[in-house]
């Protein structure tokens, strides 16, 4: 499940910031919440998304950020 969550988050962010930065941002966000990107569990998704919001915020208008976060949360819901 954990790798699936990482791949989903990267998949949502990739069209916005490219594969390399999407992977980096998910890894950074997971690390700030105290885990690696392979260890994100469904219960951690909201916390990881809060960090991701601040990462992509400078590049994206609020509706785009909200949409990305909503997509990650809805696609990783168990």
């Amino acid at each position: 499940m954990s790798k699936q969550i990482r791949d989903t988050a990267v998949g949502v962010l990739e069209p916005l910031v490219g594969r390399a930065m999407a992977t980096l941002y998910v890894a950074d966000a997971a690390s700030q919440v105290g885990m690696t990107s392979d260890e994100i569990e469904p219960g951690d998704v909201r916390a990881v998304c809060d960090v991701l919001r601040s990462k992509i915020g400078p590049f994206a208008a609020r509706p785009v950020v909200d949409q990305a976060i909503e997509d990650i949360i809805s696609q990783t819901r168990v």
């Binding site: 910031v17 400078p58 949409q67």
Partner: protein, 273 residues
């Protein structure tokens, strides 16, 4: 997600219209060399593409909420394009309507000169807003070194002749030297730093408008530099091929502004916004 789902018809239309106007006017200039209409065709694309760029950039800025950084960044860029448009309109009036040899400095020059400050401010605000998510120190350093080397390279052909011009007064020299300084340090320096910083976003769609903006400012800076070199040689005339760098540059700024609105729409899976 393909570009056809993100890029609007408006953006494609602006790009096509800008290219069409520029190419057609270049052809018409070639056919009208030495006639009264040469100056008209030489000035027309600057007016049309400059107006399109300033209107689109200001419209894009107002598209965003006051709390969004894009609003301030694009207001400055839009005001910079408006200043260029005002300068071009005055220049065209003097040359085409009043049939005067445009003097230097003319009433158009303050508008051109202030545009550098507005563009530089918009680009630096953008770079600073990215600092939380991208490393900007390395791009700033690389860009600084590049622009310093370009300044040294252009010193004998552009800067030195201006400084040592015995016929020009101090004020005229100051105005003249502001152009290459503005191009190098207020346009090229932040634009190159932005391009290097954004290279980390790869093909991510949020980078697309900024790529277009960098292309546009590069075109403007290139034409400005060639204009300065040709003016020193006495080989420049309104409607020269180098003017196309301004026209395509203004078109790219208009495309960048329209693209910003396109990519900043939330897009549902399947392409619907």
């Amino acid at each position: 997600m393909g570009t056809d789902h993100v890029v609007s018809r408006r953006t494609w239309g602006i790009a096509a219209a800008g290219i069409l106007v520029s190419v057609v006017c270049l052809a018409l200039i070639r056919r009208s060399i030495g006639t009264d209409t040469e100056a008209f065709y030489g000035n027309l694309p600057s007016i049309l593409t400059g107006a399109a760029a300033s209107i689109t950039a200001l419209w894009a800025a107002m598209h965003f909420d006051r709390s969004e950084g894009f609003r301030r960044q694009w207001l400055l860029i839009g005001l910079g394009m408006s200043a260029i448009f005002a300068g071009d309109a005055i220049f065209a009036y003097l040359e085409v309507v009043a049939h005067k040899e445009v003097p230097f400095p003319s009433i158009a020059d303050p508008f051109y000169l202030v545009s550098f400050l507005l563009f530089g401010g918009g680009l630096l605000l953008t770079l600073l807003s990215f600092r939380r998510s991208l490393s900007i120190m390395a791009p700033l350093t690389v860009s600084f070194v590049t622009c310093a080397l370009a300044t040294v390279a252009l010193w004998p052909s552009i800067f030195w002749p201006i400084i040592t011009d015995a016929e020009a007064g101090s004020f005229e020299k100051l105005l003249t030297i502001w152009y290459p300084i503005g191009d190098l340090w207020l346009l090229a320096f932040p634009a190159l730093a932005l391009a290097i910083a954004l290279s980390r976003l790869g093909g991510g769609r949020l980078a697309w408008p900024w790529w277009a903006l960098v292309v546009g400012f590069s075109g403007i800076a290139l034409s400005d530099t060639l204009f300065a070199l040709m003016s020193n040689d006495g080989t420049y005339a309104s409607g020269s091929t180098i003017d196309a760098g301004w026209w395509f540059g203004y078109t790219a700024v208009a495309v960048a502004a329209s693209l910003l609105v396109d990519v900043q729409r939330p897009i549902r899976r399947g392409g619907a916004s």
